[in-house]
């Protein structure tokens, strides 16, 4: 038995060795390998993601194996789902979720089936928004909140389960349907959650508002709202009806900074016709109407032109005079000059009259200019290319005399003496068509200009005329250049005010650069404001009136001389101020946008601040011009904080000369604009909004103010609410409330 076993093992080993041997081991065995059976599909398998989102598609993976367990092609496959209402499948096995639920994806081939389960799930919530985002409620009141759920592609999703919760139920509660009930004064957050995503709404619960807890002001009363009062103010409702102005003021020192506010009133009504600011005054026939766009275009052309800075020039030019004693008399002559130190009447000098484009580096365009007068402080020059029919020599000399005897002394008294880099002891006035050629819209003119380039040495500013001078336009009755300067009288009336305006610029630039060694020129808004003050000072000189005399329409109507003075010297300041009042929300005195509105605002702020400061005005203006600081820093050093001044002036626009008996800092001592402006612009131009139930949306720039007017009935207090895009009003926005009736 043992031997048999041994033999069987040996044989088995032998045949096993043969079976495992490679064929090339020899030709010992010639039989082919046994034939294999043909592959036959014996099983199918379907695999698939377990879940599909509604609308989502995914391909099923099919596996087919033969009788040997090897993979093989399945051949034609028939796809189906058990419930096409839940998911469908196409001929390629791509399954698409249709509706929520579970079903089977079935594959059939050669009589064999396989299936896989698929669950169609909802599109997941990506965001949830609650509206309104901020709600202010009186305790005891309710507010229904709503939600919008969205998917990742921002599509709205419906039918989602939402749960609600309040962060502080002592302030407000919320039920399962999002109905909020205010409990007690305070703030709470309501959270709505769906599929792990949460949205919130802020609930501000305010106390109840009734006549006993409402804020009561007497007529003329002024109240600055607290932060809580900005969100909710219960006001008035006393024994008699009352009227108010709510004045939001953006106290940000950056004028370009804008904030948007929404303000609503509950139980407020419109002010009654005939109330403050509804006064209609007949326009006096002696006061000129605002039909001549001289000033507007004057600024327009410069704003619209390409402006290039003089940065490097200013800095380099300052180096040389620094080494010398800092008096104007010692500053020159050190440069080549185009205006002779000892001019002679009748001679022709060459002046660069190029006023287009880059004022410093543009090549000179020399124009012959005849010296027609050498006065005590003034040289009058006339461009030899001036069109026919313009000013006569005598008229130009008269302009020069007026400047020489009035403007020069006025400006130097208030701002300081000019430099004298050309060492002729005078300021030159060039009447030239170069000014007429400055591009301007039809009907508009450039009243005149001072070019800072002319105070720079030619070495660094090739276009400089190296002398103290102004450029003035010339009449062009035959319209050889354009039609804007055809009427000599319209042009002549602004010559002297323009000269005192430009002379301030000249003094300011020269003294800052060569005498006071300020590191930079003055900022534009303050520089222009001072020049408009120069115009106003000329008006006082010519009219005999004085600052602080509350000039009103009856005074102007008292004589033709009074009317003439305001028409000639102060009219444009008043028009610019009216333009500012028409848009006080997006303009301010310290705006970097050099528009007429800013000019009107800064003139008024300087006038208001000087009146408020008191003392000798000439010292005030002199200090501002002869400073080494600039802009708000300069202003603050002279008048105190500019924001305080601007905010109080914003209130003053409403309260001044309104018979409200307000404190002095809410008055304009020098001008009764409520009386004067209607004679020029129609009704008092201050822009106001009615504050009623519909939200008022306003944009306030830094230094800007808005005026919301409303009345409150007797025994029915009103509620005023404000927010900034649904959030609390920023602390930088002050709300000042004035009771006007």
């Amino acid at each position: 038995m043992k031997n048999v076993r041994i033999r069987l093992v040996a044989v088995s080993v032998f045949f096993a060795a043969l079976a495992c041997a490679p064929e090339h081991r020899g030709n010992t065995f010639t039989e082919p390998p046994p034939p294999k059976d043909a592959s036959t599909l014996t099983s199918l398998g379907v695999s698939f993601p377990a879940t599909l989102v509604v609308g989502q598609s995914a391909a099923a993976t099919l596996t087919a194996t033969d009788q040997f367990g090897a993979s093989m092609a399945a051949g034609p496959v028939l796809w189906s789902t058990l419930s096409p209402a839940i998911a469908t499948v196409n001929g390629n096995g791509v399954v698409t979720g249709v509706a929520l639920g579970q079903t089977q994806v079935i594959a059939a081939a050669n009589g064999i089936q396989a299936q896989a389960s698929v669950t169609v799930v909802p599109i997941p919530v990506a965001t949830i928004a609650v509206t309104p985002a901020t709600v202010s409620l009186v305790a005891g009141n309710t507010q229904q909140l709503t939600v919008v759920t969205r998917d990742g592609a921002n599509n709205v999703l419906t039918g989602r389960v939402v749960t609600w919760a309040a962060s502080d139920q002592s302030k407000a509660t919320v039920d399962a349907n999002g109905l909020v009930t205010a409990v007690a004064a305070g703030t709470t957050t309501i959270a709505a959650t769906s599929e792990g995503k949460t949205g919130t709404a802020q609930i501000i619960v305010t106390p109840s508002c009734n006549s006993t807890n409402a804020l009561q002001l007497s007529v003329g009363g002024i109240h600055t709202l607290t932060g809580a009062e900005k969100a909710f103010l219960c006001l008035g409702g006393g024994a008699s009806a009352s009227e108010y102005a709510l004045i939001p003021f953006n106290s940000t020192p950056v004028a370009a900074s804008a904030v948007q506010l929404q303000i609503t009133g509950t139980s407020t009504s419109a002010i009654q016709p005939g109330s403050l600011f509804s006064i209609q005054t007949n326009r006096m026939t002696g006061l000129r109407q605002n039909k001549r766009p001289v000033v507007k275009s004057f600024e327009w052309s410069f704003r619209e032109r390409e402006r290039r800075d003089l940065a490097s020039v200013f800095s380099r030019a300052r180096v040389l005079p620094r080494a010398t004693p800092t008096t104007a008399a010692n500053l020159g002559p050190r440069f080549l000059t185009n205006i002779p130190a000892s001019p002679t009447v009748g001679t022709v000098v060459q002046i660069n009259g190029n006023l287009s484009g880059n004022s410093c580096t543009a090549a000179k365009v020399l124009r012959g200019a005849t010296v027609i007068a050498v006065l005590n402080k003034t040289i009058v020059l006339s461009d030899v290319t001036s069109p026919a029919g313009g000013y006569t020599n005598q008229e130009m000399i008269d302009f020069g005399q007026a400047f020489d005897t009035l403007g020069y002394g006025l400006d130097t008294l208030n701002f300081g003496a000019p430099t004298d880099i050309d060492a002729n002891g005078r300021v030159a006035i060039l009447f030239t068509p170069s000014v007429n050629s400055i591009p301007a819209p039809a009907g508009a003119v450039v009243g005149g200009l001072f070019a800072g380039r002319d105070l720079q040495p030619v070495a660094s500013c090739v276009a400089s005329n190296e002398g103290e001078m102004f450029y003035m336009p010339v009449p062009d009755p035959n319209q050889t250049i354009n039609a804007n300067y055809a009427v000599k009288a319209d042009l002549a009336i602004v010559v002297l005010p323009t000269l005192v305006h430009e002379f301030q610029h000249l003094i300011n630039a020269g003294r800052r650069q060569y005498i006071n060694h300020a590191p930079t020129p003055e900022e534009i808004w303050l520089n222009e404001g001072l020049s408009h003050i120069a115009e106003e000072l000329l008006y006082y000189r010519m009219s005999g009136n004085t600052p602080g005399s509350n000039i009103d329409l009856p005074l102007i109507q008292s004589s033709q001389a009074q009317a003439d003075a305001i028409n000639a010297y102060q009219f444009d300041n008043l028009v610019r101020n009216a333009l500012y009042m028409q848009a006080p929300e997006t303009n301010s005195a310290y705006s970097q946008v050099d528009g007429l509105e800013m000019r009107g605002a800064i003139w008024q702020l300087l006038r208001y601040s000087a009146d408020r400061k008191g003392g000798a005005e000439s010292n005030t203006w002199y200090t501002l011009v002869n400073s080494t600081t600039s802009g708000q820093t300069n202003f603050n050093a002279v008048f105190g904080n500019i924001i305080t001044n601007a905010r109080d002036l914003a209130v003053t626009q409403f309260t001044d000369d309104a018979g409200l008996g307000v404190a002095a800092n809410y008055t304009n001592p020098s001008w009764n604009l409520r009386s004067l402006l209607p004679a020029i612009t129609g009704p008092y131009p201050l822009l106001t909004h009615p504050l009623l139930a519909a939200p008022v949306s306003i944009t306030l720039n830094g230094g800007g103010a808005a005026y919301m007017r409303f009345s409150v009935a007797a025994n029915a207090p009103a509620i005023i609410r404000a927010n900034a895009s649904g959030q609390a009003v920023p602390s930088a926005v002050d709300f000042i409330l004035v009771r006007s009736q």
């Binding site: 004028a255 704003r303 290039r308 970097q592």
Partner: protein
């Protein structure tokens, strides 16, 4: 591991070699920060960047000059090169306004969503004020909490 030991040693050696006093080398700054102010008159204006007691005169190409002129009072980072006595601005970024940080970018509107495209990527804005929504395509600076508001804002380059 070895490099971790060698590198500090090399650095020490280099440091020792360079530890001898050397004459200072003037390096031109390529960026500055400060607050912009617009000075001069209507006819000629100058852009100045103030930082403490230092005032740097700026120059820029016309489009940038116009944009900078809108930024009076805004703190900027300006990048460029010093050219003589002024700084030639090649590009700039708004940093802060009235002491509060701001973000500089372009307003984009995607349906009811408003996004600020910045150099660091898009930033969604929550509750943007209507005035800001209306500035689609404009380069602006925005202050305040971007996700919830309220936002302060200012235009750097108006929409085209």
């Amino acid at each position: 591991m070895a490099l971790g030991v060698i590198a500090p040693l090399m650095a020490m050696a280099l440091a020792c070699r360079h530890s001898a006093p050397r004459p200072p080398v003037a390096i031109e700054p390529d960026s500055l920060t400060g607050i912009v102010s617009v000075t001069g008159t209507s006819f000629e204006h100058q852009l100045v960047l103030r930082s403490g007691a230092t005032a740097t005169l700026l120059s820029a190409a016309a489009p940038d000059s116009a944009a900078l002129s809108r930024l009076g009072g805004v703190e900027l980072l300006v990048v460029g090169r010093k050219a003589g006595n002024h700084f030639r601005v090649e590009h700039f970024t708004a940093l802060s306004v009235a002491g509060s940080p701001v973000v500089d970018g372009v307003v984009r509107n995607y349906g009811d969503r408003v996004v600020l495209e910045t150099v660091r990527g898009p930033l969604p804005l929550g509750n943007p004020p209507a005035g800001l929504r209306a500035l689609t395509g404009a380069r602006v600076w925005i202050g305040g909490p971007l996700k919830s508001g309220p936002n302060t804002f200012g235009v750097i380059v108006p929409p085209q």
